[in-house]
């Protein structure tokens, strides 16, 4: 019996706890593929996947591409500058053209919130979000909970602190949805300008003082500071931010012995995270990258299975 009947993955807000766990369990199986000598399975042989990255990305695009390759899919990469979108073609027309080429799955990274849902509603192909504006980054959320579950053996009752630019972070939103559904306790940490009160309605706690909660956390997930936001006056500068919210060596020393330090990357060493902490014993940042591949294999496999049924 399957717990998955979606051709698309556009967000985690709409997934049940059971569906999330099903993806995580499937990812466990796929993670073992990466540890074999022959890192490939035939699950998506004959399927075509398009990586449609309208917004810049290195690690997510590479991760999705490798995930598809390891599932034996044929992969086409399209980036913003090489697509007709740069000539003014609408997203709908671009997608309809891809569909006319019998594409089975589209992985979309787009600066506009809701863009993956827009495509999913209009296409027979499966649509998987690789991040849409400030909305969600569902596979990042899944790989983060996968990593926590793998390391700590559970999610229920785990105390997770997410630090930084929550307001504009799609990673934070997907993490909040996944973690709260699976029973973790989420605390959002940052200045009020970046942590609006509305997040409490999603089941998260909010504090503006990292030092007050640091020692009680099982996991601390540090988000990238988006330097472009500084111009908008959300905080005075990176120096003050680092002093108030940066995880430096002194703060890291106050973490619980088994606490995990996470970061979705790319890291600004010295701002949200000191280099020594990023490379230190608490850090699971590279595990996140490795697990991202397994999670994305699971998502591609599950969505393709449903898209295939709909075609039939």
């Amino acid at each position: 019996m399957t717990s998955w009947n979606r051709k698309d993955l556009t967000d985690l807000a709409g997934l049940s706890a059971e569906e999330i766990v099903h993806v995580l369990d499937t990812a466990v199986e796929f993670k073992s593929v990466g540890q074999r000598k022959l890192k490939k399975v035939p699950s998506l042989r004959g399927k075509t996947l398009v990586n449609l990255f309208v917004e810049a990305s290195t690690r997510t695009r590479t991760s999705f591409e490798l995930a598809a390759v390891r599932l034996s899919a044929d992969v086409v990469n399209i980036t913003a500058t090489s697509s007709s979108l740069s000539k003014g073609e609408s997203l709908k027309d671009t997608a309809k053209n891809l569909e006319a080429l019998s594409v089975d799955l589209i992985v979309l990274r787009h600066a506009a919130a809701g863009a993956p849902q827009f495509l999913a509603d209009r296409l027979r192909a499966g649509v998987i979000s690789a991040g849409d504006g400030s909305h969600e980054h569902p596979t990042q959320g899944l790989l983060d909970v996968f990593t926590i579950r793998e390391r700590l053996g559970r999610l229920e009752g785990v105390k997770v602190g997410i630090v930084g630019d929550i307001r504009f972070s799609r990673v934070a939103r997907s993490n909040i949805h996944a973690l709260t559904k699976l029973g973790a306790e989420v605390t959002l940490i940052g200045p009020p300008t970046l942590v609006p009160r509305e997040f409490e309605k999603l089941g998260a706690r909010i504090t503006h003082r990292l030092d007050d909660v640091l020692a009680g956390l099982d996991v601390i997930n540090l988000l990238r500071i988006q330097h472009e936001r500084q111009k908008a006056g959300y905080f005075p500068g990176t120096g003050e931010y680092a002093a108030l919210f940066g995880l430096n060596a002194a703060r890291a020393a106050r973490l619980k012995p088994g606490a995990l330090v996470m970061h979705p990357g790319p890291i600004h060493r010295g701002t949200e995270l000191d280099g020594a902490v990023a490379d230190g014993p608490h850090s699971v940042i590279l595990d996140q990258v490795t697990n991202g591949l397994a999670v994305r294999m699971a998502v591609l496999y599950l969505c393709a299975s449903v898209a295939q049924k709909e075609d039939a």
């Binding site: 807000a13 609408s90 997203l91 709908k92 787009h110 600066a111 506009a112 919130a113 809701g114 863009a115 849902q117 827009f118 849409d132 504006g133 400030s134 909305h135 969600e136 504009f168 799609r170 939103r173 609006p196 509305e198 997040f199 309605k201 999603l202």
Partner: protein, 426 residues
């Protein structure tokens, strides 16, 4: 040829004169008369409501320059189909209606192709850029009924102050699209609140509207000008306006149907049919708007009819233009929400907010059934049940969030100057 009709046996509501009784209305040679015309067309209005023709003071007819969205012909046909006999055309056309030549062009097109009366407005500032006053006097001479930079808001308070002072010379009301752009930035796409947080869309807080309503209250008080706040959406705006009006400040406001029919939760699937400016807000705002209508703080109803092409709206949410069509659904929604669902106002009050109140604000010789006035009539069935079908619209726009809605209340006949511009069977 004269246009004479005798409308018999309806419930006649004329808030301007306080009339509300069962009786007859006569139009002789295009104007209301106390006596019937022999040989006139007889209309049986038994069981229906007969009132002065509805006036919509906030309509985008899109001509000149954007005829793919709408034309004066299609827009006025939509107005007639919705029960409106007069529309006030906004000046944010291409080019912006900021000089008398464009006003004259709109008037000529309306005279040639308009199904209902069209009253143009002129821009406050050249190009609606908020910097230099447009030739308001010349446009007043050409026949504008108000000035507005609608779609934009004059951010410079000094410019707005001078506009208010200058408009007094012509007794022109100054309409304002209340939006502080330093608070609601260029990227703002929806109401700032829980749903903008969940959806990751840039928010447009209430304060962006309220701060300008407060500014306008101060300017109306300072200058004595008549300032009208368009499409109010926020609870605080009502509170500020109530306080100002209680002190006798000449500040008025209007409410559009979508702002009392829908909340920001409607955007949860990113449908661009719910993307409007100002944005859909929360139930507390709806309650405040209804309270403002109930106690008379807000005394005008309008549509902000804003047609767009299908291809413009069928894009990512951030890229879609703001606005929805409203002319053909407004009366049904106002009846449904104000009369049937909430009882916020009674039928005569609702009729006043669509007739005499806008006519007085604009200085129009309409909005009443008084003898000698232009014979514009809306015949209404406030209980008529119907289902909104956007494919049947007369407007070119299909951008409505109300497709498929069941409503109670519809205009059955629209009479302009004694001639029937629209009717549906009883």
């Amino acid at each position: 040829m004269s246009a004479c009709v005798n409308i018999r046996g309806g419930r006649v509501i004329d808030p301007a004169t306080g009339r509300d009784d069962k009786g007859d209305v006569f139009i002789v040679d295009g104007k209301f008369s106390d006596v019937p015309a022999p040989g006139a067309q007889e209309i049986d209005a038994a069981g229906l409501v007969v009132c002065p023709g509805f006036i919509d003071i906030h309509v985008h007819l899109r001509e000149p320059g954007q005829s793919a969205k709408e034309t004066i012909e299609t827009g006025t046909r939509a107005a007639a189909a919705g029960g409106f006999t007069s529309v006030v055309a906004m000046p944010n056309t291409q080019p912006v209606a900021d000089h008398p030549g464009i006003i004259a062009w709109v008037q000529e097109r309306a005279a040639a192709a308009g199904a209902v009366n069209v009253f143009p407005t002129g821009a406050i500032t050249v190009g609606s850029k908020g910097e230099q006053l447009a030739p308001i006097g010349a446009m007043a001479a050409a026949g504008i009924v108000a000035v507005t930079d609608d779609g934009r808001c004059v951010q410079n308070h000094e410019v707005m102050r001078r506009a208010a002072e200058y408009c007094r010379m012509f007794d022109l009301p100054l309409f304002d699209h209340c939006q502080d752009t330093s608070v609601a930035g260029a990227e703002a796409a929806m109401h700032e609140g829980f749903w903008s947080t969940v959806l990751g869309l840039p928010g447009w807080p209430r304060m962006a509207e309220e701060i300008i309503v407060a500014r306008d209250a101060m300017l109306a008080e300072l200058t004595g000008a008549r300032i009208h706040c368009q499409h109010l959406s926020a609870a605080g705006s009502v509170r500020i306006m109530r306080e100002a009006r209680a002190r006798g400040v000449s500040l008025s406001g209007e409410v559009c149907p979508h702002h009392i029919a829908l909340t920001d939760e409607s955007l949860k699937d990113y449908s661009t049919d719910f993307k409007m400016n100002p944005p859909l807000r929360e139930q507390t705002d709806i309650d405040a708007l209804l309270g403002g209508l109930a106690d008379g703080t807000i005394d005008i109803l309008a549509t902000d009819h804003a047609p767009h092409t299908v291809y413009e709206k069928e894009v990512e949410f951030a890229a879609a233009p703001f606005g929805i069509v409203g002319l053909e659904t407004a009366v049904g929604l106002f009846c449904e929400i104000l009369l049937h669902r909430t009882g916020a106002v009674d039928l005569p009050r609702m009729v006043a907010m669509l007739t005499v109140n806008p006519a007085r604000l604009l200085g129009l010789d309409r909005g009443t059934l008084g003898a000698g006035r232009p014979g514009d009539v809306t015949i209404l069935d406030p209980a008529r049940e119907w289902v909104v079908d956007k494919e049947l619209f007369a407007t070119k726009g299909r951008n409505t969030p109300f497709h498929g809605w069941k409503l109670r209340g519809r205009a059955l006949r629209t009479i302009v100057g004694g001639r029937t511009a629209w009717e549906i069977s009883r």
